[in-house]
């Protein structure tokens, strides 16, 4: 199946490995990801007020391009992009006033015809976790992995409709398909501090410390994420936290879920080729 692919700014720069392993694994699974030709930054955050309409121009422009390219689904990877696109699409379907303003400005007639999906949803619904498990050639046997959902994939509850907000399972099901040992721990959906790491670092560091303590205590050897900002926070504040908590000196790797997928499908060696 052919999907319109929206990488977003971070996957082209700081999270290049996220994009590389996404495209490698999609290819291996027979999924065609066609990059939107003229995409722009999605704005990183969905506006939480009634006055800002223009931040929606950029995501709608990409969605309209996906539709023009004949795709019924637009796939995103970064949890920030996914949150913005999913909510923007919902607004374009349900809010006639905003839809009129955006379409008038862009000279488009976009009404939410394209579905916004996350790569994890494609793996679950279009590939199927049972089928994915059969394609795994290097099972992650014995690897104790803790899924970290963060906020942007799941919330707000009635707008994202991604998984159960309080008790999601998609990450766990994905990891089991790869043969990993899933680490259960209570802080897997607790906020990592998000953008507070740019302006209130001590708050983000404390939030990260709680998540890591919870994961450590339950035996995690690695954390898996879908959000570059979560990954940054969980890595950036690990050192100080470890010293304070007397925790393992080597630290805990924070990986994108596509890195583990690439490893399990044995396509990781193609890096850089």
């Amino acid at each position: 199946m052919r999907y319109s692919y929206y990488p977003g700014c971070t996957l082209k720069t700081k999270a290049k490995v996220f994009e590389d392993t996404t495209l490698q694994t999609a290819r291996a699974l027979g999924l065609e990801f066609a990059e939107v030709e003229e995409w722009q930054c999605c704005g990183a955050l969905y506006p939480l007020n009634t006055e800002e309409v223009f931040p929606l121009l950029s995501p709608v422009r990409s969605l309209a391009q996906a539709r023009a390219a004949g795709c019924t689904k637009l796939v995103t990877l970064c949890a920030g992009c996914y949150n913005v696109f999913r909510r923007t699409n919902r607004t374009m379907r349900s809010d006639a006033e905003v839809r009129g303003k955006i379409n008038g400005y862009l000279e488009e007639d976009y009404r939410g015809q394209v579905d916004v999906v996350h790569y994890l949803e494609i793996l679950k619904n279009d590939v199927g976790f049972a089928e994915l498990a059969e394609k795994v050639s290097r099972r992650l046997e014995g690897r104790k992995i803790a899924p970290y959902y963060g906020c942007l994939l799941l919330k707000p509850r009635n707008e994202m409709d991604f998984d159960d907000v309080e008790n999601p399972t998609i990450f766990e099901d994905f990891l089991r398909a790869l043969g990993a040992n899933v680490v259960e721990y209570p802080y897997r959906t607790e906020c990592c501090g998000s953008y507070l790491s740019m302006a209130n670092e001590e708050v983000a560091a404390t939030a990260v410390g709680r998540i890591l303590t919870s994961a450590f205590k339950n035996g995690a050897e690695a954390l898996v994420v879908a959000c570059p900002l979560c990954k940054y926070n969980l890595e950036e504040y690990q050192k100080g936290f470890r010293e304070a908590a007397g925790s393992p000196a080597a630290g805990i790797p924070v990986l994108y879920f596509t890195e583990l997928l690439a490893e399990a499908l044995d396509v990781r060696e193609q890096d850089g080729q």
């Binding site: 955050l45 939480l48 007020n49 707000p156 998000s194 507070l196 740019m198 302006a199």
Partner: protein
């Protein structure tokens, strides 16, 4: 603090309700938002108190609150709110009122440590400036 009808009918609360699209009077103070907030320990006014102060029109207490800059918009609170009040939207409206009325930005690129500028993902930088600057 003193509550008066002038305060309750203040323009600030009308503006906040308009900008946020939320009805602050819907809150019945169950404090489920505060109970689940992951950064509540760093706040001076708790999330349910933000709504109570807004119901009472306590503009100064709201606009001087550290809470406006601590909320990470994780949306745990509104996903649990039995009255479906989107609290991060109320906090965002207060932040916007402040940034617009007083001018200046809470965060300036020059104030970011070199370490952050070098390592932070674009997603984080864009998010922060969308929240903390006009």
């Amino acid at each position: 603090m003193k509550v008066t009808t002038d305060k309750i009918n203040s323009n600030l609360i009308k503006e906040v309700e308009e900008v946020s699209g939320q009805k602050v009077s819907a809150c019945f103070q169950c404090a489920k938002c505060t109970g689940g907030c992951p950064v509540v320990w760093a706040m001076d006014v708790y999330p349910h108190q933000i709504l109570r102060y807004a119901q009472l029109g306590l503009a100064d207490e709201l606009l001087n609150s550290k809470t406006l800059w601590i909320c990470a918009s994780c949306q745990t609170c509104d996903s649990r709110c039995p009255r479906e009040v989107d609290i991060p939207k109320v906090i965002e409206a207060l932040r916007l009122v402040l940034l617009r009325a007083r001018g200046g930005n809470y965060l300036h690129p020059n104030n970011l440590p070199a370490r952050v500028l070098e390592n932070a993902p674009q997603q984080g930088l864009v998010s922060a400036f969308r929240k903390y600057a006009r």
